[in-house]
């Protein structure tokens, strides 16, 4: 690559950085003030693209097209901001006091709803936007043609950054926003109506995302996959820059966009006979940057240690061993599951669904093991599921390993992955840890997606079946036994000193260290154990389906696990099993019911989050609490009758 090409690539990077900054800074601002990790932020970006497309098609044509075009960008941003305000008022206001992860779940449900809404309104085809009037052409730079629209993009990022900076430091509103970032309850006690402050910040953040999408339209078609890819990029930028830091988001978006641009510029290089494709690296490079930054500066480039949120979940009750009633129920459920294949005449589908639910339950229980007792929230548990399933496929197909042996080794492969990734992850905590797990799962996904020769790339791998003596109903029973044993083992771990040490480190790492517990080591081991069992779930999955695709490592697979754990209630050991069962049945039913199953599913999640903020297993506790509140009153009445 010669110098002029490099310079051109650097300029491309600057242009890319602007849009990235716009979406990331909104996310960061929203997180800073409301403490909500807005998973739907990529959706607002996507809607910004679609809305500006429609507006430009309407007012960006004809003699006034220049005014129409630029006006459409602004209007689209405003419209998305307005939508954000509505979302904040109608949904988020109700869940500010819910635990962090529930808020995440609610915003993820919005992703599903918005995605189907866009599908319904704009259809499944990608929509290419018109070029910007006056900036259609190219200019000559370093002897190369350079799109003049990129120059506009290069300017708009720093301009918005400057305006935001002024807004936050020079205005009373900005002072309030910065104060709310630290302690919103205190601000309320000083007479500030935080509800409108939050609405304002959320609307502003969404407007920035919408603007980011709108200005990106002339470069990139609007499509339904933009939401998830954008939120991934935005997360990375925010985490690299430091949660809540706007200069950090600016710096990080520059860094990431430039490194990506350089990778594209370098292209494919032959080094010592090995072909390295740097342009393919772009899918991974931002996550590598994130991993490196987080290990060196755990709170991001310009971030700081976040104060623990004041509205965390209520304190967990002490662990109690299961009662006899509980044991009978477990045995009963186990026997019921064992009877499912006998229904193949009347309900042939029951065993298939049962198999899926068993695998999902193990996936959820392994995730819960690290999230609940371990206190490590993961957005990337699909990495180990994927390593388990791809590990098994590769061992069988390429290493010609017998299937039973592969079933044994593949979870260990996942465990090795968890051992490696966990070493980095346990250095962090809270949202940062969660983001890093997401980054690692994206790395695994990218490697699998691109390593055609071994993994089959986007086509995945097929024809991976159990050996004959283990197939069919026998495989169902194998799954039932292995899942049963695994869940039992994980439960034993939690009740053993190791599980106590995990919970001790979660409840107070300060105190745990002070009584000689190596909290990081305990977490690392817990992370690895969760990886092994998550891997086993993946292994069980692949031999039941016979094929695997990169989808098993996707973000949405990780989110499925989160939904199961949260549906079941994170503070309950049986929660993930219940959650997986409910999730499995719901998903199965919803997907058959409508083409817009995502929206329906999102709607159901939203309903559950709003109705049962402690999870399904928490319902019993909510009833119990109500009962306790009610009982004293009953007692009083009784006593009065006696006297």
């Amino acid at each position: 690559m010669d110098l002029s090409a490099l310079l051109a690539q650097l300029l491309n990077g600057l242009a890319g950085a602007s849009s990235l900054f716009l979406v990331a800074t909104g996310l960061s601002l929203i997180f800073g003030v409301t403490r909500i990790v807005n998973f739907a932020h990529g959706s607002f970006f996507m809607l910004g693209m679609y809305v500006s497309y429609s507006l430009i098609e309407r007012i960006g044509v004809g003699p006034w097209r220049a005014v129409g075009f630029w006006g459409a960008l602004v209007l689209a941003a405003l419209a998305v901001g307005l939508l954000g305000a509505l979302v904040e008022i109608l949904l988020l206001r109700r869940i500010y006091k819910a635990p962090e992860l529930f808020q995440l779940l609610a915003t993820f449900a919005l992703v599903l709803v918005f995605n189907d809404a866009a599908l319904w309104i704009w259809g499944p085809e990608d929509l290419l936007g018109r070029r910007a009037p006056g900036l259609e052409g190219a200019i000559q730079l370093f002897g190369r043609a350079y799109p003049s629209y990129n120059l506009f993009l290069i300017v708009i990022g720093p301009a918005i950054f400057g305006l935001l900076w002024m807004l936050l430091t020079k205005t009373r509103w900005g002072v309030m926003v910065r104060a709310a970032t630290h302690d919103r309850e205190m601000l309320g006690a000083l007479g500030v109506n935080q509800a409108w402050l939050f609405t304002g910040v959320f609307a502003l953040g969404c407007m920035l995302a919408g603007l980011g999408g709108a200005v990106q339209l002339p470069r990139q078609p609007a499509s339904l996959t933009v939401d998830i890819s954008t939120i991934g990029d935005a997360f990375v930028v925010v985490v690299v820059g430091g949660m809540g830091s706007i200069p950090g988001a600016f710096l990080a978006s520059l860094l990431i966009a430039e490194v990506k641009a350089i990778c594209i510029g370098i292209g494919t290089v032959h080094l010592a006979g090995i072909e390295i494709s740097f342009s393919k690296l772009t899918l991974v490079v931002e996550f590598l940057i994130m991993a490196v930054v987080l290990v060196i500066r755990p709170w991001g480039l310009l971030g700081r240690l976040q104060a623990t949120s004041r509205n965390s979940a209520p304190v967990e009750a002490p662990l109690k061993p299961g009662s006899n009633w509980f044991r009978m129920t477990v045995i009963g459920v186990f026997l019921l599951m064992a009877m499912l294949p006998m229904l193949d005449q009347s309900l042939p589908y029951a065993a298939v669904l049962g198999q899926d639910i068993l695998v999902a339950a193990l996936f959820a229980v392994s995730l819960h093991f690290m999230m609940g007792p371990g206190g490590m929230h993961s957005f990337g548990h699909s990495a180990y599921y994927g390593l388990g399933s791809y590990g098994a496929a590769i061992l069988v197909k390429l290493a010609f390993m017998p299937m039973p042996l592969a079933m044994l080794v593949a979870p260990l492969v996942a465990g090795l992955g968890a051992l490696l990734f966990g070493w980095f992850c346990v250095r962090l905590s809270g949202v940062y840890l969660a983001m890093l797990t997401l980054a690692f799962s994206q790395i695994v996904w990218s490697v699998v997606f691109q390593w055609d020769a071994v993994t089959g790339g986007s086509n995945g791998m097929v024809g991976i079946w159990p050996e004959d003596w283990l197939s069919g109903t026998r495989y169902y029973y194998l799954t039932l036994v292995l899942v049963g044993l695994s869940v039992y083992a994980l439960r034993r771990f939690v009740f053993a000193p190791f599980g106590y040490a995990m919970r001790a480190g979660r409840d107070s790492s300060l105190r745990a260290e002070a009584i000689g517990i190596d909290v990081k080591l305990v977490q690392w081991l817990a992370f690895t154990i969760a990886g092994v069992f998550g891997g086993l779930a993946g292994t069980l999955y692949i031999f039941s389906k016979g094929s695997v695709s990169p989808d098993v490592i996707s973000v949405s697979k990780s989110v499925d696990g989160l939904v199961m754990v949260l549906l079941g209630g994170i503070q309950s050991l049986t929660g993930p099993v219940i959650g997986a069962a409910v999730f499995g049945v719901l998903q199965d039913w919803v997907m058959r019911a409508t083409d817009y199953w995502r929206a329906l599913f999102g709607g159901i999640i939203l309903f559950l989050v709003l109705a049962f903020p402690e999870g399904l297993a928490g319902i019993s506790r909510q009833i119990e609490t109500l009962w306790q509140l009610y009982r004293p009153a009953v007692g009083v009445v009784r006593r009065e009758k006696l006297t």
Partner: protein
């Protein structure tokens, strides 16, 4: 005019409060008259801070009558209560560490107030506060996070005064700071009182409370066990032993 014939500012009765399922306050009743400094005393966990927070609307579950300037404020959001002229100084300071002293003061600013009879209430400006707290005046551009505990304690009071409150709720001003700072806090309260301010404070330090206050309420397990003038309490060693464990 002595304080006891002044009009009642705050009148609380039948106040109950809960944390989760735990019932913390039981039928608490108290009042504050204009110009008074009242101490709410009792040991840790007796419900002092809970009472102040309940008055301020900061608890998710409370019941009872809270009458402020003739209006029922029970069930109102904290910001509404603050806008009616109730100032709250939290026990753990809670200054905004990234904001400068001036900006911290700005977060508390509210418009000047009048009493019901039309007379102007105390109207604080940053300059007036810098006069009252000379330390703060010397560090107007310092960030809250870079101040010492004692300076933060002063800032948190000054920030609340910026709202020109008609009544200040002061939660445990002497907790966790050096004796010399506690003494400054006592001087500050007396100075405010001399200007006609009304203060309801929660306090465990008996010596501190009797330096500054006119009347006292003693809480134990969420119930008012004693009320009377500070002078009477000083001589009532029985109450002191039973509920203040002096």
């Amino acid at each position: 005019m002595t304080a006891s014939v002044n009009p009642i500012l705050l009148d609380v009765s039948g106040l109950n409060a809960w944390y989760g399922a735990a019932h913390i306050l039981f039928d608490v009743a108290l009042n504050v008259r204009r110009g008074e400094v009242i101490s709410l005393m009792g040991r840790n966990g007796a419900g002092k801070s809970t009472t102040l927070k309940a008055i301020m609307g900061l608890l998710s579950r409370s019941e009872g009558q809270i009458n402020f300037l003739g209006q029922d404020i029970a069930g109102k959001a904290p910001f509404q209560v603050a806008r009616m002229g109730l100032g709250f100084v939290p026990e753990d300071r809670r200054i905004f560490p990234d904001l400068t002293v001036t900006e911290n003061l700005e977060t508390g600013r509210q418009a000047p107030r009048q009493w019901a009879d039309g007379s102007a209430a105390l109207n604080w400006t940053p300059d007036a506060l810098y006069e009252l707290f000379p330390n703060l005046g010397r560090m107007q551009d310092r960030r809250g996070g870079q101040m010492s505990g004692g300076e933060q304690q002063m800032l948190t009071v000054a920030r609340t005064l910026m709202g020109n409150p008609l009544l200040v709720l002061l939660d445990e001003p002497s907790e966790g700071v050096a004796p010399v700072i506690v003494e400054q806090m006592a001087h500050m309260i007396l100075a405010l009182k001399a200007r006609g301010a009304s203060i309801l404070l929660s306090e465990q330090n008996f010596h501190f409370a009797r330096l500054v206050s006119d009347r006292a309420y003693v809480l134990e397990k969420g119930q008012i066990m004693y009320e009377g003038s500070m002078q009477d309490l000083t001589h009532n060693s029985e109450i002191q032993r039973a509920y203040l464990s002096v």
